[in-house]
Amino acid sequence: MEEGNQLDTEKLALAVRAKRGDEGLRSTAEKIGNISAATLSRIEQGKVPDVETFLRLCQWLGRQPSDFTSSAVAKSAAAHQSTPEVIEAHLRADRTLSPKTAQTLIEMVRLAYRKDARK
């Protein structure tokens, strides 16, 4: 099995909750910009944000994106065979996903990239 990096959603959630403190979700979301109070709430619950939202949060927190990655062991070495480093795909989903659903979707996309997934 090989090492990989993943977004530590719990660490991100803690940092956001700590910085927000007693301030309301709506006013905090307005300060961050281009994010709804509902999305902010879901991120505080540990959901995976999209790239744009994640980078805005890092800027607001005054932290580097790499501060929120953690080493994780990949589930299966076979899943990483013959896949590009970045797969271009369009995902129609909630703006925030549970980490488990996000991970499963990505694994499914990797599997689909193998030739035998297509007719």
């Binding site: 990989g4 990096n5 993943q6 977004l7 995976v48 944000p49 999209d50 790239v51 744009e52 939202t53 994640f54 994106p65 790499s66 990655t69 899943a79 896949t83 480093e85 970045v86 797969i87 271009e88 795909a89 369009h90 995902l91 129609r92 989903a93 909630d94 703006r95 996903l97 549970s98 980490p99 488990k100 659903t101 996000a102 991970q103 499963t104 979707l105 990505i106 694994e107 499914m108 996309v109 990797r110 599997l111 689909a112 990239y113 193998r114 035998d116 997934a117 297509r118 007719k119």
Partner: protein, 192 residues
């Protein structure tokens, strides 16, 4: 959305039916358009290597969180759809995904990014809005709505005939202007 996009989308929905040899008022099955665009729809269970746990996560536990993933290859597009959704919802999702192709939207980076190691994706609101609008026009173009209104079809019947949710039917009736035109025509007839 770009200026003029909405009216162009309405025209395009009619033009595509013509290209496929369909009447402007006919239903356009998503499979017909998929064939033309080189799109293949597949269920998660149809992806070799998917485990029962993965299927449970996507189709039960996390079923409300996602609708589809469209993966672009060199000459084709594979769309993995959430098969736990209703047929009407899946039909709308299919048209949404195909609308991204028709609009020439570039897919977003989706998987792990080396160095940053982030499992996330980009989200472009203007692209989503355009695909939403065009997808809805493709499924229920203005001629279809006029046809149905002229025959006094209730929303339930339109929904069934065109495999569209009642919410979508009501949305298109209002946003397309078809309902307003019908009301004005009815008023003119009454005053004669």
């Amino acid at each position: 959305m770009k200026r003029g996009f909405k009216s162009q989308a309405e025209d395009r929905a009619v033009a595509i039916r013509r290209e496929l040899g369909l009447h402007p008022c006919a239903r356009l099955p998503s499979e017909r358009l998929a064939e033309k665009l080189g799109v293949q729809f597949v269920a998660p269970a149809g992806i070799p290597g998917m485990t029962p746990d993965m299927l449970a996560q996507l189709l039960q536990i996390g079923a409300s969180e996602w609708s589809a993933v469209a993966i672009r290859f060199e000459k084709s597009t594979l769309v993995i759809e959430n098969t736990s959704h209703s047929p009407k919802r899946r039909e709308s999702t299919r048209f949404h995904e195909m609308s991204h192709l028709l609009c020439g939207h570039t897919p977003s980076a989706f998987v792990e990014v080396p160095g940053m190691g982030v499992l996330t994706r980009s989200y472009q609101q203007d692209h989503e809005d355009e695909a939403d609008w065009l997808g809805r026009c493709l499924q229920l173009p203005k001629p279809v709505l006029g046809f149905c209104l002229n025959r006094d079809w209730p929303v339930e019947q339109i929904s069934k005939e065109f495999l569209a949710s009642e919410d979508l039917v009501n949305y298109r009736l209002n946003k397309s202007g078809a309902l307003l035109i019908r009301r004005r025509l009815a008023q003119k007839t009454e005053t004669r």
